[in-house]
């Protein structure tokens, strides 16, 4: 054989071998446990097991998508893609967490599920006066958040809609009445998310409300079909975001402009947490058709956009959910943002922004971040709405649940090809809904399975949804965690678009300890929204552990989990955790030592709470 032939043969062999590289990588890197396990096996292997129990617990809610005006009918599933939401609160102060789910079709009621002492739920939205909120021209519900807006000790309810937002005041756990104070809420806003925060630390929760479609767009009575984004990645024609200052529980004043939050990105999700330990809550936004944003709070005087400086605001994607969590038990919040990925078509990947340090910009110390989603194994979602966080197996590290799926219609059909025709096109094409191809009942990233990413404690996550009984392939949107029956395990409610809500009861390895902290502000807002708690403990191996969590006024996508903070502790030799440190909004601090675990503690802000600085 000629040498040249030998050389050609060896190069050809190498060439062929290259085609097997992806399969080899798949084999070596797959972090998915697909095999279904029994409850016993799951408890043994993963430390928990989940079971869908909606019907057994009396939860029968089915979300109905809203209709749209004729010029939008050809893409109705995209325009009316959201509205299935869930938020948790103890409505009647009986010590059991309740939850509220929104509907979107006109005439269809929202449901309020009141938990009974046996862990079942009774639907009482009509009794409480918060059922019939989906009526034209008032609007269609998209989500809700809870907080005690007047510090009277009862949880109040804010419902944002495509339409007029509405605030209900809790009448001592008996019913709700519309807020009677003066508000500057807009007459119309197309909102998909909102968050409570006490931005000025005056002891009353303020409200940040996002806009998606512009506020002059009425999808049921459309004036102009040029209402879609003007860019798939740098859109600037979205709805206005609003910040409303709570004036002592008597009214809400629009302070958006003076606080530097005038913004027309297509915001889909927002959360608030004190990201830099300043004592004042910051805002983090996930924008569709744009970059993630970080607004640092300058002592309640103004917000400064530090997204680019923090490295979060460089690469535009389709942000749909934002959650702050101490995934690595370092006492710092990482930020998890979900985006869109579709095999072979669009590979945005989800973002896990992990703190890397800080830099100083114009005298402001700005935390910096790096996206470590790939190395952590949480990069690949699909069409990912909520990325919600809790410790599902009480092992002491926070796990992640990703709600996937956009529109499940005719099986084995696909709208992606038509979608790419317009979204890659110039702004003059993409902006006009008339140019968007008809969906014709084709599936669009539908029938996707949600992912339950189990944190192994070393910075890697493993997908175990099927193995632990939490498989779900509906078009999921919102996810909230709560402890049903107050048994020290975090259970899960998933709101699915145009589908029944899914409630999962969690069964956890009893060897794993836990502690729950319920906070009540006295000088800070009574709901303690924005307060952070750091629990320090020593695990059975003698390793010092700490984890930080914050009381959230809304997170993920159209979600709000229980504000009773739940810490898994793993196997413990001691009966107590060493320290529970509370940082209240405004900068004060309380420290509790030798706190017993396996119980819930209600801690009130002490009058002796000290300022850190």
């Amino acid at each position: 054989m000629k040498p040249s032939t030998l050389k050609y043969g060896s190069v050809a062999l190498m060439f062929v071998a290259l085609f097997f590289v992806p399969e080899l990588i798949r084999q070596f890197t797959d972090q998915t446990d697909r095999a279904q396990a029994s409850a016993e096996e799951s408890l043994e292997r993963y430390g928990f097991f989940m079971e869908e129990v909606s019907q057994e617990l009396g939860v029968t809610f089915v979300h109905q998508r809203c209709d749209v005006d004729d010029p939008l009918k050809h893409i109705q599933p995209q325009i009316a893609a959201m509205g299935a939401s869930v938020s948790v609160a103890d409505v009647n102060n009986d010590g059991y967490q309740d939850f509220y789910v929104t509907n979107s079709a006109f005439g269809e009621p929202n449901h309020l599920y009141i938990q009974q002492s046996d862990g079942t739920f009774e639907e009482q939205a009509s009794i409480y006066g918060v059922a019939d909120l989906n009526q034209y021209p008032k609007g269609s519900s998209m989500g809700s958040i809870w907080a005690d807006v007047n510090n009277d000790g009862w949880e109040d309810l804010f419902v944002y809609r495509y339409g007029k937002p509405v605030l209900f005041v809790n009448q001592k756990g008996q019913k709700f009445e519309p807020f009677e104070g003066a508000t500057q809420f807009p007459d119309w806003v197309n909102s998909n998310s909102a968050v409570w925060l006490d931005y000025n630390a005056d002891g009353y929760v303020d409200l940040f409300l996002t806009g998606y479609f512009k506020e002059d767009v009425d999808i049921w009575d459309l004036d102009d079909t040029r209402m879609m984004p003007d860019s798939y990645e740098f859109a600037t024609n979205g709805g206005k975001n609003y910040l409303f200052r709570n004036d002592g529980g008597r009214g809400f004043t629009d302070v958006t402009q003076e606080m530097g939050l005038d913004n027309r990105k297509w915001t889909l999700a927002v959360t608030s947490v004190d990201i830099n330990g300043s004592g004042f809550p910051d805002l983090i936004l996930a924008n569709d058709y744009g970059v993630d944003e970080l607004f640092l709070n300058e002592k309640g005087k103004r917000f400064v956009d530090m997204g680019p400086a923090s490295s979060m605001g460089d690469i535009p994607k389709s942000g749909m959910s934002i959650t702050a969590a101490d995934f690595y038990n370092q006492g710092d919040f990482a930020l998890y943002v979900t985006n869109i990925s579709e095999a072979g078509v669009l590979m945005q990947g989800n973002n896990l922004w992990v703190p890397t340090g800080s830099t100083t910009i114009d005298g402001i110390e700005v935390p910096t971040y790096a996206n470590t989603a790939t190395s952590a194994g949480v990069e690949q979602g699909e069409w990912a709405y909520s990325g919600a966080v809790t410790d599902l197996n009480n092992n002491g590290t926070l796990d992640l649940y990703i709600a996937n799926g956009f529109y499940s219609a005719t099986p084995n059909t696909d709208y992606w090809y038509d979608y790419t025709k317009v979204v890659g096109a110039n702004s003059q094409v993409i902006i006009n809904a008339s140019n968007w191809p008809a969906m014709k009942e084709r599936t669009f990233s539908g029938y996707q399975q949600n992912r339950l990413m189990l944190n192994d404690g070393s910075g890697r996550f493993r997908e175990v949804s099927s193995a632990v009984g939490a498989a779900l392939d509906k078009d999921s949107r919102a996810v909230a965690f709560l402890d049903i029956r107050n048994d020290g395990t975090m259970d899960m409610v998933v709101a699915n678009q145009h589908a029944p809500v899914s409630v999962f009861k969690n069964q956890v390895n009893q060897d794993h300890a836990w502690i729950q902290i319920s906070l009540e502000g006295t000088q800070a807002n009574r709901s303690a929204i924005g307060a952070s708690v750091t629990v320090e403990w020593t695990d059975a191996q003698g390793q010092a552990q700490r984890q930080k969590q914050s009381v959230s006024g809304g997170e993920a996508f159209s979600s709000q989990s229980s504000r009773v903070l739940h810490f898994g502790l793993g196997v413990m030799d001691s009966d107590t955790v060493e320290n529970v440190t509370i940082h209240w909004p405004g900068g004060k601090r309380d420290i509790y030592e030798a706190v017993p675990h396996n119980q819930k503690h209600t801690l009130q802000e002490s009058t002796s709470a000290r300022f850190d600085n």
Binding site: S231, Y232, S341, E342, Q380, V429, I430
Partner: protein, 282 residues
């Protein structure tokens, strides 16, 4: 996109500033990339682009040294690498390296009568979409969708192609695409603007300005070049009617090599073999 369009000696630049022929392609695509990234941040990160470029250059020189005994200049491999770095979208690093490796290796393996048949990047990208679709996609939405960016890139690209005498390829393709877009409206029911919309995106700019005009993988005769791109546009229309997202890449992947083989066959029929030329006619 392994090679630059064949340039004339200079692009109307002053004599002292005239670019060497081999650098026009790399300079043009680098300029576009830097402009696009600084304006709109089109890259996921410099590291992935750098990986594709370095892999491409190393692969090219290793294979060239191994098969031909000498190292090769970096110009062609640089364009292949940078093209892979722009076109491939992935959360991972390895698809960028693998695309570059497959692209370059294809030049050394898939050869017919002394020349490679596929545009290397076209081959690499098409293969990656087949073997690694779960972790790879192709640039489809970038550059801010702004009119001015689109116009500038088209103008710069077309100007360059006109100077190097290959605008007939891109021009004919654009005309054919528009015509077949009009035809497609009768099948899809979508508006003409919707069907022609992809042309306004950056993926098509890279495809029509760079990939289709690669001198080494296009036929020689200008009329034949135009005829081939009409066939490519036609095959693309068929693929689009089948809702294939990356129809242009596959159309070029299918038609390009066939056209080269036919050209070679045609030339072998019409021209005497070199040995026969030495035989005096009697």
């Amino acid at each position: 996109m392994s090679s630059s369009p064949t340039p004339s000696p200079n692009l109307m630049l002053p004599a002292g500033l005239a670019l060497p022929k081999s650098l026009i392609g790399p300079v043009l695509i680098t300029t576009l990339l830097i402009g696009a990234h600084l304006s709109f941040g089109i890259l996921d990160g410099y590291q992935k682009l750098l990986l594709a470029v370095i892999t491409s250059i190393v692969m090219e020189n290793l294979l060239h040294k191994y098969t031909k005994g000498s190292f090769k200049g970096i110009s062609s491999a640089y364009v292949s690498g940078i093209s892979a770095g722009i076109l491939i979208r992935s959360a991972y690093f390895w698809p960028f390296a693998l695309t570059a490796m497959i692209s370059i290796a294809s030049k050394y393996v898939l050869r017919y009568k002394g020349r490679h048949l596929w545009n290397p990047t076209n081959f690499g990208v098409a293969m990656m979409l087949l073997i690694a679709a779960d972790s790879t996609a192709v640039l489809s939405i970038q550059w801010g969708n702004h009119m001015w960016a689109m116009v500038i890139i088209w103008l710069v690209g077309i100007f360059t192609l006109m100077k190097v005498g290959r605008f007939n390829i891109t021009g004919t393709y654009l005309a054919a695409f528009v015509f077949f877009a009009w035809i497609r409206t009768y099948f899809t029911g979508d508006t003409f603007l919707t069907e022609v919309a992809p042309l306004t995106g950056p993926m098509y700019q890279l495809f029509a300005l760079f990939m289709m005009t690669d001198p080494k993988t296009t036929v020689k005769n200008p009329w034949a070049q135009s005829a081939v791109v009409v066939v490519i546009a036609f095959v693309e229309m068929l693929l689009r009617l089948g809702e294939v997202v990356y129809a242009p890449f596959y159309a070029l992947f299918i038609v390009g090599p066939i056209a080269l083989v036919i050209e070679d066959w045609w030339q072998s029929r019409s021209q005497p073999v070199s040995g026969a030329e030495a035989v005096p006619h009697t």
